[in-house]
């Protein structure tokens, strides 16, 4: 009997680990340690904590970007994509196609076949003769270490706050290309803090309940729980994330969603928002669906579900969707237009803006 008890305890603790897996990573310690050392000229500490020696800005002419959203950051800094020779295919797939055409004048010459999933084809990379490589995390780095090409890691372990992530990304890109002018993304975040977040704090109504559907594939619904990008978007735009007690992106049952009964639902991947409203009867019992408050996550220079150069727009757009009465002064179309002009020097037509905001209609 005692043996049985011990085994039971082991099983339960194993299940427990599954429920609250929280691996502490000592990257922060490593980072601060390295930062204490004085960096030499043209050396950067990347987000993975590596010290990388980089060529001078003028010598960087061929950039290979393995990490999809970094392309948008680089473009917002340089306002020019001519130095980019190869990008992750997701860069195009997760972006509005019209905007992609605006960004890349030489779209057909951009190589997207050097990376498949998480795996980078080393020889293809060598063929591209890059001056620098931007990658995301150890998995993408596999095999690349052996190359004598400067490589910058853009993955900050465990960090999911879009403000911190995009700011750090931009800081690195600016350092690498030695650019200090123009509005930084940090300025935008400060504006958001003043115009959105502090205004939400003064809200006189109870906060609404929000849910981000991360994916929905064959009736298997995955939602954004605690410490996910979705979680940050929801909380920053003044909602309470109903899936707060879940860690990461996890599958839930429809019954759980009934119990949460969110006021607003955002749909990242999977079937479009309209399919929830017009589609199956199951969803019609949820308040957000009844009230027609189900929205697709927009897709601009990159999908707004993940951090990228468009991210400040995501918070403003969501705030306006969540509390239209309080943000009635917001003309989201104008805000987007101005933002694109300022950050990317792109003039958007109203058509493109509506295709940004309703990305799943664009496909149909």
């Amino acid at each position: 009997m005692r043996k049985a008890f011990i085994i039971l305890v082991i099983v339960i603790s194993l299940v427990g680990i599954y429920g609250c897996s929280d691996r502490e990573v000592a990257v922060d310690d490593k980072l601060s340690e390295i930062e204490k050392k004085e960096l030499k000229e043209r050396e950067v500490v990347d987000l993975g904590g590596n010290v990388v020696k980089i060529p001078s800005a003028e010598e960087i002419n061929r950039v290979v970007i393995v990490s999809p959203p970094i392309t948008s950051i680089q473009y917002s800094v340089l306002k020019d994509a001519s130095k980019i020779v190869a990008v992750n295919p997701l860069t195009f797939k997760s972006a509005n196609s019209d905007i992609v055409k605006d960004v890349f004048e030489n779209l057909d010459n951009i190589n997207t076949s050097f990376v498949k999933g998480f795996n980078v084809d080393i020889e293809a990379v060598l063929n591209l003769k890059p001056d620098i490589i931007f990658y995301y995390g150890q998995q993408q780095k596999k095999g690349l270490e052996s190359l004598e090409i400067p490589m910058v890691d853009f993955m900050k372990q465990k960090e999911r706050n879009p403000i911190i992530i995009t700011t750090e990304w931009e800081r690195l890109i600016r350092k690498i290309f030695d650019i200090n002018d123009s509005t930084t993304i940090n300025d935008e975040w400060n504006k958001i803090d003043k115009n959105v977040i502090s205004r939400i704090k003064e809200l006189k109504v109870n906060k609404l309940k929000g849910l981000m559907i991360f994916n929905n594939s064959g009736n298997k619904i995955t939602v954004s729980g605690n410490n996910t990008y979705g979680d940050y978007w929801i909380e920053m735009s003044g909602l309470i994330n109903v899936a707060d007690n879940i860690d990461g992106e996890k599958e839930v049952s429809i019954e759980q969603i009934y119990q949460w009964n969110p006021d607003i639902i955002y749909v990242f991947r999977g079937p479009s928002a309209s399919s929830y409203i017009e589609g199956e009867k199951d969803w019609s019992r949820i308040k957000a669906v009844k009230d027609n408050k189900v929205y697709d996550v927009p897709k601009g220079i990159y999908s707004w579900g993940a951090p990228n150069a468009d991210s400040p727009l995501m918070v403003q757009w969501m705030a306006a969707k969540n509390y239209p009465n309080y943000f009635s002064d917001y003309n989201i179309n104008n805000i987007i237009k101005e933002y694109y002009k300022e950050h990317y020097s792109i003039t958007l037509t109203d058509e493109i803006i509506s295709s940004i905001l309703e990305p799943k209609k664009e496909r149909e």
Binding site: I7, L14, G117, N215, K250, I254, E255, D282
Partner: protein, 336 residues
């Protein structure tokens, strides 16, 4: 084992299953108070139930299909396990030995890649599960002898090929959207099960179950050597094919409905043997009930333990394997 005693066990196990089904109906994420439950029960009895009430909807359209699916799939896999163990003359065999799971998983992945529609994915899983077993059978079939070793080897070959093909499909899948879908689907879950799914799964599984049930006594002889069974007047090839077909249909349906579930087909026949012994005539009915209880219990854990769903395949093994280990240790495997 006396026949009366066997009947008594069947009745007890059935009562356990029914109680478990009723309890499972009343617990869940959506809070329904006891008072509401009683009023719902009254409505059901007086036939005044309305699905406009979310509580009624949750119980009868969300929980009930899921519970029924768990019972059907569990029962089916258990019976398939008994059948496969008999024809392979080996108590360590589970229905997946002929490559049906590998084939069906490949089908799932391919289905997600081609067209992300639940019905289509289920269809692909089913078809490819069957295709895999047909391939195994064709490779393992031999004019001179139809030894089960050949079938086992063929099963290993086919499984290996389809596992690689699955990896290939996963490799060519979109990392952001398709790959997680494939992985989630294969990890298995009954969360999205609807009444239409139950209806789809019911007929193939029930039909195969009836077939296995009717051949239950003949299974005893199939576990002897082929010639011995032939000399008892048994048409070994025909029975073997029928059992392979019914097990395959059950397993393919199971994967198509709730992903890769291990252990049910392996463990429940053994629990059954502990209760009624090795005689397949009694083992099949008992395993069918135990399979239903087992998978329903596991799925209850999956949906109730945390706010998020725990993959079914995780718990079937994580709970099943240690429980089996304890039983094995305690009894020394005497029941086999």
């Amino acid at each position: 084992m006396k026949y009366n005693k066997f009947i008594r066990y069947c009745i007890i196990l059935s009562i356990v299953l029914i109680i478990l089904i009723i309890t499972s109906l009343t617990v869940g994420k959506y809070e329904i108070s006891r008072v509401d439950l009683f009023s719902l029960l009254k409505d059901v009895l007086s036939n005044r139930l309305s699905m406009d009430d979310t509580k009624a909807f949750v119980i009868f359209s969300v929980r009930l299909p899921r519970i029924l699916m768990a019972v059907i799939v569990g029962s089916g896999l258990a019976a398939a396990g008994v059948g496969m163990q008999a024809i392979f003359k080996n108590p360590l065999v589970s229905p997946r030995i002929l490559g049906v799971s590998a084939g069906a998983s490949f089908g799932v992945a391919l289905g997600i890649l081609v067209c992300n529609n639940a019905m289509f994915i289920q269809f692909m899983a089913f078809v490819w599960g069957i295709v895999a077993v047909i391939l195994t059978y064709l490779i393992g079939k031999n004019n001179k002898s139809s030894s089960v070793i050949m079938l086992v080897l063929a099963g290993i070959i086919v499984s290996a090929v389809f596992t690689s093909l699955l990896s290939l499909v996963q490799y060519s899948a979109d990392v952001d959207t398709e790959l997680p879908s494939i992985i989630y689907w294969l990890m298995g879950s009954l969360a999205g099960v609807k009444m239409t799914d139950v209806k789809t799964a019911f007929f193939p599984i029930a039909l195969s179950l009836v077939l296995l049930f009717m051949m239950r006594w003949k299974l005893n002889m199939l576990s002897l050597s082929d010639e011995e069974a032939e000399a008892l007047g048994l048409n070994v090839k025909l029975y073997r094919v029928l059992i392979i077909i019914s097990s395959t249909v059950i397993s393919a349906t199971a994967v198509s409905m709730c992903g890769m579930i291990g252990w049910v087909g392996l463990i429940t026949p053994h629990i059954g043997r502990m209760i009624v012994g090795t005689d397949n005539e009694k083992l099949i009915p008992v395993s069918i009930i135990i399979g239903g209880i087992y998978l329903l219990l596991i799925d209850d854990f999956c949906r109730l333990l945390y706010s998020s769903e725990i993959p079914l395949s995780v718990l079937t093994a994580l709970i099943g394997a240690p429980v089996f280990g304890i039983l094995l240790k305690k009894t020394g495997g005497k029941w086999i």
